[in-house]
Structures are given as C-alpha cells and as structure tokens.
C-alpha cells in the first residue's frame, strides 16, 4: 500500500495535526511554522491552524504559496485535499495586490497590480473617505493620516495591503547593549533581527523568555528616541531598571510618563492607563505621541492593548512599531487589528521549545479540587448569579488547602494569587504574609518585591495587580485561589510567574485551587485549556489528599 508516512495530517477545517514523536516532526514544524499558528501543543499531537492572517503573515515574511503547498504535500500523511491547496494559493495571492508606497510627488499612494481589485475596494463605502484623487488607473492617493485606517479597512475587506511606504528615522539617540557577563540568547537575537528586517511587527515569546531584552535589542538597533508603552507603573519601573542595567542608557535618559510622573525623555516609558485617561471627552495625554520625533514605539503585552491605543496607533504608521506578547490570543478577538496596525508576527517560539533549551523552568501544574461544605453548597445554590463565582471562589476550604500547600513548600518562595481582596486579606492574616493589592502604594510594592527577591519574605499574597510584568525571579510555587473568571491569558501570565529559571534548579509548582461542582470549576477548565494546549497539563487532585499529606 503506497502510504506516504508523513508526520502531518491536514484536516478539512484547515487545522494541521503534527505527530511530535515522528522522526520528521522537527523538519515539518520548521516548514509549517511560517504560515500556521500553533494552536495546541499537548504531549503527542500538536495542532496548527492555517488562517488567512497566518498566510498573509507568511507572505509578509517573504514566503510564497508554492512553499506552503510544498510543505503540506511533502509532510502530509494523507493526500491533501486539492480544494484546500487551491484555497491557500488564492488566499495568499490576495496579499500584496495592493501596496502602500511613497510617491515622490503625491505622497502616500495605494497602488495595485490588479486593477479590478482596486476598483472593488474603491467601491467600498469604508474606503472612500480614506482616499484622495485617482492618480492613474492603478494608483490612488491616500491621506497620510489614514495610513493605519486604510490598512485596517483593507484587511477587513480581505485585501491586505503591503505597507512599503517606509518609516521615518526619528530623532537619533545613541543606545548600545552593554553585554557584560551576559548576551542576548540566540532566539532573542533572532527575534530582534526578524523584527528589524520586517520593519514593524510582533514578537511572540513566553513569559519569562526575556521580552524586555528583545525590546532593548531593538532599541539598540534603532538608535533613536523610543516610546515604550507598558501596562502599569510597576512594569514601567521594571523596564527602566532593566534598560539601565542592560544598555548604555542612564537613569536621566529614561523618563516615566504615568499617573504620578510626567517626564518626557529620549526614552519614555508610558502606561496604557495614563494614555487612555479621558477628561471631558478628550484624551489629554495624547500629545505624548507627538511630543518627540520618536523613531521606535514598543508595545509591551500587545494582547492587552486597549482599544483607544489602537486608534492612536493607526496614526503612527510612519514609525517603527514593535509589539511584545506571550500570546496573540486576545479575549476580544482583535487579532486582525494587531496584524494591520502594529504589524505581522515576526517571531514566535513555543513555550516548550524554550523550556527545552533551559531558558525557562519546567512546571508541575496541579489543580486541587475542594469540596464545598454542605452549608456552603446550599448558600451557593441560592446565591445570585453574579455573586455565584465570588462565593465559590472564596470558599473557606480553599484557605485550609492553601495553608496546607504553603506548609508543604515551607522555605521556598511562594506566591499566592487571587482575585478577591477579602479573601487575600484573610489569607495574608492566616499565612502571616504581606498582601499586595490595588491600594498598596508603588513604593510599598517595590519594597515588598525587593524583600521577596532577597528571600526576606518567603510568602507573598498578591491580587491581580501583580498579574503583569513584575519580575519575581525566585518564586518557585504559585498558588492561585481565584481568578478573573475564565481569562486564558491571565492564567498564562500567572504560570509565567513561576517559569523563570531557578538558580537552584528547583522544579516550579503551580497550584490552582478550585471548588468542585461549581462555576469555579468550569472557569478553571476554560483557563487551563490554554495551558494544557501549551503542553502544561494539569494533574487533578482532591483537596483531601493535600490535607491528608500535611
């Protein structure tokens, strides 16, 4: 029987199943990675998905349809449906029919290699206000201010434009990496290179894989004034700290633009929050974008980019943009805006791969199911719908289990993460540990973090303020007692807390304490699915086991 024994199975819904234990799996992974998004990476079969965005990403990276088809045909175990191949070729063919270029006389223009396509898009009501005069049958002028808008709209119409209009260099500013005793890891170098070569785009790296350094590396490439957008003040300080340590930049060259301080320096770190603050219907801090001739804009945690920032970003298309994220999954489904406004994905490395290279620590993920007591069950059953989650997430039993786990890992650095302040306060009290929450001042926060880092404190209770971008290198155990409903990316962030490589080679542990037979369990399932799909499978244990052990 002439069976082609490849590692890849092409499904009719355009997912690709890759058998990881197959001898040709590695070659195959490399061949399909440019155009297929890794969707799930559990232990045996990885699932990739071929989407129009992925195919256009591949086109943007210089791959053509033939390479894609070849990769599929070459590695596929079963014959690839002809229709799928045709569809791939047609989809990829749509990219680059329209290009945005800079015309010496007319400024920004949209040109086409296929006149009917231009006619089609010009007929669209959404395109009409964005374009100017028809310069010749194949060219139409575009208002320079609408560069982002038109790209966004064209993508929605299914004719993504290739942006070749180039970038302004911005105000030059010397920045060098200070590689004393450390160097960029190979994948970080690769990421910087891919980004710089592509002009703008997104780098996808797992938490703890050193995204800040990719940012620093890119700044050293750009050697120009840089605006860095981050999620919160702690994160801003972290960036500043890291940049001072890793580059030739000094404290004075880096400004912080946040709720408390409004410094504009050659390198300015601003929070999303301050940018999106609205006063009397206007965004007063928008002038930040125009306050300097920025040469590079870095978006940290792109998947959290708030909608207004997308709007400002649309106006910044002439500047180089670097997006950094652990996942392109957005709970609001605005992946296509990331693609059209910040840029295509330029680099991507799955967690497991970086873990295998030893840059992040392997983790043992455990879900602990606790039983509600009979009276809690009755109370849960009668609780209002909106109160239900809070009720089951803060059940009394969780506290006991958490205490048991903390006892079990006594001496290690332990983070307890939760959603509800009451619960956290109570836990802090019982565990005799400090609590970091929204009202904790930044100074206090940093002090506590430092103490935790130094090992002066071994247990820290944090609310969701610590979800992002804080660096806790020595946390080896994380205990999650409640979360923001079913948010997948929050789960990823939290796991990221413990995935940093440990000095002593301790195994990382991630505990999720969940109330059985309640919506807490359903949310947990949803949250964990993302991690299970990343290869971090949970073990599920009953609370009794944990309690019995201690």
């Amino acid at each position: 029987m002439p069976r082609v024994n490849g590692p890849l199975i092409v499904q009719s819904d355009k997912t690709l199943l890759l058998e990881v234990d197959h001898e040709r799996a590695d070659d195959c992974r490399r061949a399909i990675a440019p155009f297929a998004e890794l969707e799930r990476a559990p232990e045996h079969i990885h699932t990739y998905r071929v989407t129009p965005l992925g195919l256009w990403n591949a086109r943007a990276a210089g791959h053509d349809a033939e390479q894609v088809v070849d990769a599929l045909v070459q590695y596929s175990r079963y014959p690839v449906p002809h229709a799928l191949l045709v569809d791939i070729a047609e989809t990829m063919d749509r990219y680059g029919r329209l290009t945005l270029t800079k015309h010496p006389a007319h400024g920004l223009v949209l040109t086409t290699t296929d006149r009917p396509v231009l006619e089609e898009v010009l007929k669209s009501k959404r395109i009409a206000p964005l374009v100017g005069a028809r310069l010749d049958p194949d060219t139409v002028a575009v208002h320079p201010s609408e560069r982002g808008q038109i790209k966004q709209t064209l993508l929605k119409l299914g004719w993504p434009a290739e942006d070749l209009a180039g970038y302004v260099d911005g105000e030059a500013h010397p920045i060098e990496l200070l590689e004393d005793g450390w160097t960029l890891r190979p994948y970080q170098k690769q990421a910087v290179e891919n980004f710089w070569h592509g002009g703008s785009g997104v780098v996808v790296l797992p938490c703890g894989a050193g995204k800040t350094l990719v940012g620093a590396g890119s700044m050293a490439q750009a050697k120009s004034t840089t605006l860095i957008l981050v999620t919160n003040t702690v994160s801003a300080r972290q960036w500043k700290h890291e940049l001072v340590k890793r580059t030739s930049l000094t404290e004075d060259e880096i400004g912080e633009y946040s709720g408390t301080r409004k410094e504009i320096r050659p390198v300015t770190i601003a929070t999303y929050q301050v940018l999106t603050t609205k006063r009397k219907g206007v965004y007063p801090h928008l002038e930040l974008f125009d306050s300097r001739d920025w040469g590079l804009i870095v978006y940290d945690e792109v998947h959290l980019l708030p909608a207004p920032v997308f709007k400002f970003t649309a106006d910044l298309q002439a500047r180089r943009r670097l997006g950094l994220t652990a996942t392109l999954v957005r709970e609001d489904g605005r992946e296509s805006d990331v693609f059209s406004l910040i840029g295509p994905k330029r680099f991507d490395a799955p967690w497991k791969e970086i873990e295998a290279q030893g840059y992040i620590a392997p983790a043992d993920c455990v879900e602990v199911r606790v039983n509600l007591t009979d009276s809690e069950r009755l109370a849960y059953a009668t609780a209002e719908t909106e109160e239900k989650y809070r009720f089951c997430a803060t059940t009394e039993t969780k506290r006991k289990v958490t205490e048991a786990i903390v006892r079990r890992f006594a001496g290690q650095q332990i983070l307890v993460i939760g959603q509800y302040i009451d619960q956290l306060d109570e836990l802090g009290e019982h565990l005799n540990a400090p609590v970091i929450k929204g009202e904790t001042s930044n100074a206090q926060r940093e002090k506590l973090f430092d103490a935790f880092r130094e090992g002066e404190i071994s247990v820290l209770v944090v609310s969701k303020v610590a979800n992002f971008s804080i660096d806790l290198p020595e946390a080896t155990v994380a205990i999650q007692v409640s979360g923001t409903f079913g948010s997948r990316q929050e789960e990823a962030q939290r796991l990221g807390r413990v995935l940093r490589p440990k000095a002593d080679g301790h195994q990382a542990h991630f505990y999720s304490v969940v109330a059985r037979d309640t919506i807490d369990q359903d949310f947990a399932a949803h949250r964990q699915r993302f991690l299970a799909e990343q290869g971090y499978a949970y073990r599920i244990v009953d609370a009794d086991e944990i309690l019995a052990e201690s």
């Binding site: 029987m1 002439p2 069976r3 082609v4 199975i9 092409v10 499904q11 009719s12 819904d13 997912t15 199943l17 058998e19 799930r40 559990p42 232990e43 045996h44 079969i45 699932t47 596929s76 175990r77 079963y78 014959p79 690839v80 449906p81 002809h82 229709a83 059985r516 037979d517 699915r529 299970a532 799909e533 499978a537 949970y538 073990r539 599920i540």
Partner: protein, 852 residues
C-alpha cells in the same frame, strides 16, 4: 459495398436503400429519433430524416468541422461535387489539414443522412439546406450573401444589361444568360482579378469590409463614386432600398474560395495544465473518495432521526440546506451536491408520510455494510448516470422559482453525456495530467458547437459549459479525479483501458477514409475514437473494477487513538467502526479530515454513561484503544462525571401515599389487596403509585383505610361535588328538518310554474314520428321545426318544444309563436308567462299540441 447500388441515387430514400445494414445501423444509432416509432419502410425513414425537427437535432449534434462542412455545402450549388466542396473548405490554396479531415466530415454527414449522393453529386438534404443557407433573416455562419442569380432575381433586365456591359462583358439578349455571364465572370479567378485591379482604392476597402460578413451594407440614395463603381459592375447588388449585398461569388473570390474564415478541421487539443505523478493523483483521489464516503455518512447520520421536511413543491428548504451545510462544514452548493449524490444513489428519499420528511432508505443500511471501495463505486456510478444537476441548486427556473436541492426541475438530460465526455477527454490525456479547464470547454464546444452562438465573448454560460465545469469540480469532490487528473479508479469506472502513459492519439488517424473515393459511409470507417457510455451491465463490471483499484488506496481503519492531557483524542486516520461509534458517543468530534480529533467534555462523558456504560467500561475502553497512557485529567474527568451521574433519579408516578407512620405503610405494602395498586416504596414514609389519585383513594378505602386527598401545597382536599364549566361557547345553531314555510308570493310563482310544467307535460300532442317516451324532448329536423313554427304563427296555435338553453340545460316548454325571423322564434312562453325569443338552433324539436 454492393457495386450494383452505384447507379446514382435520385433521392435520399434511394440512397438509404443502397446502404448496407451496418451503415443503416450507424445512422439509427446516431439519430435514434428516427426509429421512434419504427418506420414502415425506407421511404418513410427518409421522410422522417428530412423533417425539420429531426434535421435540427442531427445538426446540433455535429462537431464543428462537420457543421462547417454542412454549412459550406449549403452555400455550394446543389448538387455539388466533392471537389467543389473541397475548394470551399480548403480554399484555392488547398489547406492540407482541411483536405485530410474533409473525407471524415463528409462521411459523418453521409452517415447521419444529412448528405447523400456520390462524390460527383453531393446533396445536402433540403431541410438542412434551408436551415443553413444564408438569408437576410438568418445570416449564415459563413458570412456569405446570396448568389448573383438570387440577388438579381428582382432586377429589371435593362439594369442587368447595364451591369453586364459595365463589367466588360458582351451584352446578351436575355437576363438569364446575362446573369450566367456575370456569374461566370465572378467565378473566374483571373478575369475577376483583372476587373478588381481596376477598382478604386476606396472600393476595394469596402469589399474587404464586407468580405467575411455580414455581407450587407447601407448606401445612401446617391452613393459615393467608389460605391457607384462597385454597384455598376454588380460587385455590390441592391437588395432593398438603401441596402446592398456582396454577392456570394464575389465574396468567395475575395476569400480565395474559402467558405469559412477559419475552418477548424482538428478538434482543439485538451491541454494539460499540470502533470502530477500518477501515484499522487490516485492517492489524492482516494483520499477524496474517503472524504466523500465520510461526508455522505455524516449527512445521513445527521438526518438519521428524521431529516428535514420536504417542501410542498418538493425539495429542501433553503434553511435546511444551510443547516446541513453548516453541519457538514461545507458551502451550500457543496452540501447540495452531497445531498443530491445520496439521493441519486438511492440512499435517501422522501418518506412519503403525511408530514413528509427526507430519510435514509433501507438501501442505505445495505450500503453501509459494504466495504468502503464498493460504497464509493456505488456513489460514483450513480453520479455518472444521474441527470440531476446539483449545480443548478439556488438558481431560478424559467418561471423564476428558486430551484431547491432534491427538488424538481434539476434534471438535465445532457448531464450524463457531458459528464462522460469530459471524463473521456481526461482519460485521453497521459496519466497524471490535469487538463486546463478552458481547453476542455473549448474541446466540448468544438464537438457540439452551439448553432448561431457567438464564436467569441460570453460563451461560457451555455448549459454544456456549465455542466462541464460542474463535472470537473464534482469529479474532484467525489475522488474520480485527484488534483485535477483522472485517477486510475476513475479511468476504470469509465471502462477505459488503463493508460499506458503515452497520450492517446487524438482523432482517428488510423482508420479515417483516405480520399474522396469512399462513396458510402461504411461503419468500419469510423474508428472507435470515443469512449462510448457503457451499458448498465458493463457499468457494473467497470464499477467493480474501479472499486478493486481503489480498495488498496483507502486508508486502513485503525484500532487506536492518541489520548492527550488537554482532553482530546486524536485518531490519526479512519477508525474501525465499533471504535468510531463508541468514541462518537464518548467524545465530541472537533475536527475532521484525514484524522479525527475528539474532545472529551463532561457532557460527552455523561452521554456515554447515559448510554449504559459504566466508568469502569470507559476506563477499560480507553486503556485498550489508546496507544499512549490515559492522561490523569481524563481519567479524573470520567470518575468525576460518573460520581455525579445518576445521583438524582427521575421517574414517573401519578399518585403517592404519604404517612408519618412507617408501620402503616409496611402494612399496606404487605396487604395482598394492594397488589393491584402497584405501590412502590420511594422512602420510608412515601409510596408511589402509577394509578391516578382517585383510583388510589378508592383502592385504599376499599381496603378499609381512611385516606385523605392532598393538594399540591400539601393541604387536605375537601371532597365535594364541584361544578365543572366549559370555556365560553355559543349555543348550537338549530338545524331545521325542512325548508321554512313559503310566503304567498313564492307560492303563487311556484304554482304557476307547476301548472305550466304540467301543461307542457300532460298536453296531449300529435305524435311526430315515433311516439316520445315520457319526459323526452321532442326531436324534429331543423326544416321540420321551422315549418311547424311558421305554421303555428299563421294559425296562432301553441306548440310544445324541447329547448336547450345556453348552459346546456334541457327543458320542455309550451309556446305560442308570434313570428319567426333571422333564426329566432319570438313567442309567448306559457311556462314563464312572458314573451320570449328562442334561437331556432337551440330548439331540439317541436310537436303540435294534441287537439281536444
């Protein structure tokens, strides 16, 4: 064949008579309409072969070159010699290719009885000639105008003489010879060249504009000099005021004798667009064949418990088609294709119930039991032969009604033939070669050109082209082709010999007639260049052969899956049926294709438990079929769901007995008399019964207890006769036994009518002819009626008539005629008590009343 038959036939019938049986059989095979019904003799056959409908049908089925040949014959003299025809087709220069192909074309026309006569006197049957010859209303595809003779038929002799003289010919005494002389000049190449050499430049330009047709042009009343030059010499002839035509002979001279601008003696080659290795093609096709089977099964499974309703007009509603398309994860046209395929294969049908729905047929269950390759062969065979065309679904018919899938109006009789032809063309390509669609369409258009259709422009919309496109895409979906090329199994399905790898010789080089000497179309001259559609028996054999080829290519069903910690199971290929069925219950299918991805959810596990499996069964099942260790979260999930499964129990009871005293309930249960009540203990203090509360109460009372009924709130119900009311109702309408009593007016009228009728019926009358039976209308001849009426006018007597009114109701009347004129009798009608006019022709007869 027989030499004595060579005395030139004088008619088509004679020509047919001279043909041997084989050649007659060839005629009847290609024109089957000629034998329905079977003609009595050859004369009748010839007549029928000459009917317009039949000739049209035959012309429509000619390939382009044969049609061009027929068109050329239609503009040639009748009869024409083979050489004349050759001249028209190949031109003065003598196109070699045309010359080689022409005998074949003539043979075709002869075989089809469109042309008869030997090579010196080829005659196109008259109807064909009329259909193909140019006329102002129907310009010929040749673009030629009428002959000089035809164009000058209405012209004055003086004018003809003028033209002849100006053209440089001696004048003649009559028009006929003048026209002949002019024709002679125009057909003489050298003299004509000389004549045209003297033409002004502008005149030559006009000629070149008209030469390839349309040959008609407009001129003003006072034409310019160069036009006048042409008109004077007869190079343009007037047809109507202001219109001139280029005579056929002149055009032919300018065309160097060619009737067609571009004769197409050779069928356009079907160009391969890509060539894949035959293994890839077969494997792709097999993969698609497997998908086809899976899709049809899925469709039927989706419809298993009651398919969609049948529309009143027949077919699937748009909504149901959409739903099915979503269920199959395909587009709607594709869903329509699969539904139609299952329908054509007899796997689904309407259930014919009052509430009509689609459902699987018993044949489906049989089909399911077949090995996969044979299942595919059944589908493919049904597809090949079906006249139903799913491609039309969603379009509109002539009455602007939407054509629905499985509905009426989707049959196109040309479909199987086009399908077969397209696949045959693919079969003629080397193995693994995928054709360029356009070249296939071009070839089909050559083989069956649309008469009168534009040669260029929007011509892809004709039914055959659309059918061909659908064929190509459907063949790919079904796995008859793979990556556009015909697979080995597809080839076998057609009954084509396995390709050798070399291109099959196009056309019939080997056995074509070698020259004009072939007098009669003899069957063996036609090489079997085409694959003929197979008979049903042969189809069976071919399908079996295809199934045998396909079987080893289909993926072997697997007996294992890979379980993963993200609660999915991946079957890296098709699964054995029991395994697939079980997994289908235990997990939800998430993704299909070469592999199947299943996801375990609490709901899916519960479904398996509901189906009667225990947690232990499920663990064992997974352990047995997983090639990898069962992940802990999955095992935990099963146990967790099983733990809660059946925790709550639900049953039906219509009454209960409740008592705080367990002992009393024990006593009741122990009592034999209670057996009939079928009481069941649900809890120490509760008994449930399937009977209604009233019966239960009766039963318990009969046993000597004093039970009280309880309301839903638990209160004791006080039993008292309670009044039962209906919803508001209107009182019934009275239904009287007879009609209401009549009033005086009605009575008077009635009595008068009754008396008059009585008079008519009882008045003794003179017997006329035969005595009339009671109630029968009098019958007399029209003359007699008239005479009797006229007599009655004179005498003033009343007469008795039979009368049929405009609604056809017959009646008897007694009338006193007053006058008879213009076919009407005006008379006093005793029955109606008024003067009326009766049309004579409505009077069936008349009888005098008996004197008394």
């Amino acid at each position: 064949m027989s030499p004595e038959a060579h005395s030139a036939p004088r008619s088509l019938a004679e020509a047919l008579r001279a043909r041997d049986d084989a050649s007659l059989a060839a005629l009847l095979r290609s024109r089957p309409d000629l034998i329905t019904p079977v003609p009595t003799d050859l004369t009748q056959l010839a007549t029928r072969a000459g009917t317009r409908a039949s000739v049209l049908r035959a012309l429509e089925r000619l390939d382009r070159f044969a049609l061009q040949t027929a068109e050329a014959l239609a503009v040639a003299p009748d009869p024409a010699s083979y050489d004349t025809l050759l001249g028209l087709m190949a031109g003065d220069a003598g196109d070699e290719t045309v010359a080689r192909a022409l005998p074949q074309a003539v043979a075709t026309l002869r075989e089809q009885a469109l042309v008869w006569g030997d090579d010196d006197r080829l005659r196109l049957v008259r109807t064909a000639r009329e259909l193909l010859a140019p006329s102002p209303q129907h310009p010929s595809p040749t673009g030629l105008g009428p002959t000089v003779q035809e164009a000058t038929s209405g012209m004055s002799p003086g004018r003809i003489q003028e033209i002849v003289t100006t053209a440089g010919l001696p004048s003649t005494h009559d028009s006929v010879s003048a026209v002949a002389a002019l024709t002679g000049l125009f057909t003489h190449r050298k003299k004509m060249a000389k004549l045209l050499a003297g033409a002004p430049e502008a005149a030559r330009e006009v000629l070149s504009r008209l030469v390839w047709g349309p040959p008609y042009g407009q001129v003003t009343a006072d034409p310019a000099a160069h036009l006048r030059w042409l008109l004077d010499r007869g190079l343009l002839l007037p047809t109507a005021p202001g219109t001139v035509v280029l005579p056929r002979e002149v055009a032919l001279h300018l065309r160097e004798g060619r009737a067609h601008r571009a004769p197409e003696p050779l069928p356009p080659a079907v160009a391969p667009a890509a060539t894949h290795s035959p293994q890839v093609v077969d494997a792709t096709a097999a993969g698609q064949a497997y998908t086809a089977l899976a899709t049809v099964e899925e469709l039927l499974k989706d419809w298993d418990e009651g398919g969609p309703a049948v529309l009143r007009a027949g077919g699937l509603s748009v909504r149901d088609l959409k739903r099915t398309a979503v269920a199959l994860d395909v587009s709607e046209p594709v869903a329509a294709f699969w539904a139609e395929l299952a329908y054509a294969a007899g796997l689904i049908a309407s259930d014919g119930e009052a509430d009509e729905r689609y459902a699987a047929t018993p044949a489906y269950d049989e089909w399911l039991e077949l090995p996969p390759a044979e299942r595919w062969a059944r589908l493919a065979r049904a597809w090949l032969a079906a006249t139903r065309t799913p491609g039309l679904v969603g379009g509109r018919d002539a009455k602007d009604r939407t054509l629905s899938a499985l509905g009426p109006g989707l049959d196109r009789s040309a479909a199987p033939e086009v399908r077969h032809r397209v696949l045959s063309l693919l079969a003629a390509l080397p193995q693994g070669a995928a054709p360029d669609t356009e070249s296939v369409l071009a070839r089909l258009r050559w083989e069956r050109p649309l008469r009168g259709a534009q040669r260029d422009g929007a011509r892809d919309d004709d039914l055959r082209s659309r059918l061909a496109r659908w064929t190509l895409s459907e063949a790919e979906s079904l796995g008859v082709t793979g990556r556009g090329a015909l697979s080995s199994q597809g080839r076998a399905l057609l009954g084509a010999p396995a390709a050798t790898g070399a291109p099959a010789t196009p056309g019939a080089d080997s056995a074509e007639p070698t020259g004009p000497g072939d007098k009669l179309p003899v069957h063996h001259h036609r090489a079997p260049e085409r694959l003929v559609p197979l008979s049903p028996a042969e189809q069976g054999v071919a399908a079996a052969a295809a199934a045998r080829l396909l079987a080893p290519l289909l993926p072997e069903p697997l007996d294992h899956v890979l379980l993963q910690a993200d609660l999915t199971a991946v079957a890296p290929g098709p699964l054995r049926r029991p395994l697939a069925d079980m997994l289908g219950v235990l997990a939800d299918v998430e993704s299909k294709g070469g592999a199947t991805v299943y996801r375990f959810t609490p709901a899916s596990v519960r479904r398996a438990l509901d189906a009667g499996r225990t947690a232990a069964d499920l663990h064992a099942f997974l352990a047995e079929h997983s090639r990898t260790p069962v992940p802990q979260p999955l095992a935990y999930l099963i146990d967790d769901v099983a733990r809660r499964h059946g925790h709550l129990r639900v049953g039906a009871a219509s009454a209960y007995v409740r008592c705080d005293d367990d002992a009393l309930l024990n006593e009741i249960l122990a009592d034999k008399r209670a057996a009939a009540l079928r009481l069941r203990r649900l809890a120490p203090t509760v008994l449930a019964a399937p009977s209604d509360p009233a019966t239960l109460l009766e039963g318990l009372r009969a046993m000597g207890y004093a039970p009280a009924a309880e309301s839903a709130e638990g209160d004791v119900l006080i039993t008292r006769a309670h009044a039962h009311r209906t919803a508001p109702r209107t009182a019934p309408e009275p239904v009287p036994d007879g009609p209401p009593p009549p009033d005086a007016t009605l009575l008077t009228a009635a009595i008068r009518a009754i008396r008059a009728g009585d008079l008519a019926a009882t008045t003794p009358r003179k017997p006329v002819g035969e005595p009339l039976a009671g109630g029968e209308l009098p019958r007399t001849s029209a003359a007699e009626t008239l005479a009797t009426m006229q007599a009655a006018v004179l005498t003033g007597d009343s007469v008795w008539i039979g009368y049929v009114n405009a609604e056809g109701a017959a009646s008897q009347r007694v009338i006193a005629p007053i006058r008879v004129e213009g076919g009407f009798v005006t008379a006093y009608d005793h029955t109606a008590d008024e003067v009326r006019t009766f049309p004579l022709h409505r009077i069936t007869g008349v009888a005098e009343l008996a004197d008394d």
